[in-house]
Amino acid sequence: MMGERILSTPIELNEIIRVKVGDVLYVNGIIVTARDAAHKRIIRYCKEGKRLPLNLKGLVIMHAGPIVVHKEGQWVIKSIGPTSSYRMEPYMADVIKITGIRMIIGKGVMGRSTMEACRKYGAIYAIYPGGTAALATKCIVRVIDVKWLDLGIPEALWILEVRMFGPLFVAIDAKGNNFFERRLKRVENNLLTLQKELELIPDTCSISEIIEC
């Protein structure tokens, strides 16, 4: 059964473990954007014993590279939406562990190591409809701050106040369920059926292995 709920940051562990795959969420509070470069740097800072520029505990990381302009001394988000989350898969488990975030927002498939870190540390992965940046932009109240701007505007950590940010569809929950595991299996079976029907040579790679990475 699909449930709709609103979460406010900082999100507590007992709230996040109640969320299930298939739920639809809206977020109030603070979302921090991060892409490939920021994820790498978070891990490097941890290895080198450096402090992160902000405490992410209980907050939300969004995989996004926004369009931002500086206007009359203020940063303004012109367009923001999710980027493909699979690119962050190699770093995600470490980032969840280091930062204590409770939620990741992105788009597309995330794999097994993220799923396991979500279960171990109490976090979820939710998708925002890909490409729908105009809607997402309207949920941004203001830019609170920006860190690591040296990475470039799309790659920096944008600390954003959001209101009713969503709809977010829960794809990985804190119990270790991954919506895309079932989905990819289904697509794989459909592909096998078509290959048989058309008498095509089967693909040697399994689609589900995308999840394993």
């Binding site: 590279g65 367009s79 794989e188 459909n190 290959q195």
Partner: protein, 299 residues
Amino acid sequence: MIKISYPSIEKIERNLVEAIRIAVTVLPEDVRKGLEKALSEERDELSKKMLKAIITNVKVAEEEGIPICQDTGIITYYVKVGTKFPYLSKIYDILRNATIKATKEVPLRPNAVDVITGINSGNNVGINVPHIDVTIASDNNELEVIVFPKGGGSETPSICKVLTPWQGIREVIRTVLNSIARYGINACPPLVIGIGIGGTFEVAARLAKRALLRGVGKRSNNEAIAELEMKILDLVNRLEIGPLGMGGKVTALDVHIEVAHRHPATLAMALCTSCWALRRAVMRVYSDGSIEIAPYTGL
């Protein structure tokens, strides 16, 4: 004698910036209709929810001038120019300058990154980008520029390879299905699929991308190719990836195939996928000096 006042380079540049703005904020009619048709066909609740969000987003983007997607892509310009166009030697400068201005004014996301240093040029202009494809059209003084920004996420299923002729169209179909099945979910479906067959390695790739310029819902003039387009569309949709990977009937809005004669020893093929946000606009400078800018609904 009628005196024609031909627009200045600055005026053409200014109009081109506006065409870029249209390209990233207004989804062309053919794509919009394709998405609405998808919503009417889709039965799955979750997939319908995704399509509704997409359609609302398109409306809000146009009304408020917000980029449809924050990834305003790398731009390819398809230029058709007459030999008597007065600024023939300046075309590359005009396009690069307009790109820099649009990046600042629209604004666009800076998306041109050095392949070795990883440094972003900051203005969407860099080595060999934006890509400019020029065709000499006729003896007149007219100019047509199609602005085609394409996001990074939808590039992953794209593929280009050279088959041997005995592998045939079957292998083309197999390659397309395998790639869409593996990478389609992350490319923001429903997709529009461009396929190039024949020519050489790069001819097939260019044809595959150019195929995306054809209006969604329009079939090839060649009957056999049109039939193949419909067959592949049906097969891709039977993968049930669905809108944004949530499952359902509509994985692709359309399939377009463009062909070239092949070398006797090769069968080159390419697949170029677009996300649902297939964005394109056009600027035309006519011989009487008037300028038109509009969303580009396809050939």
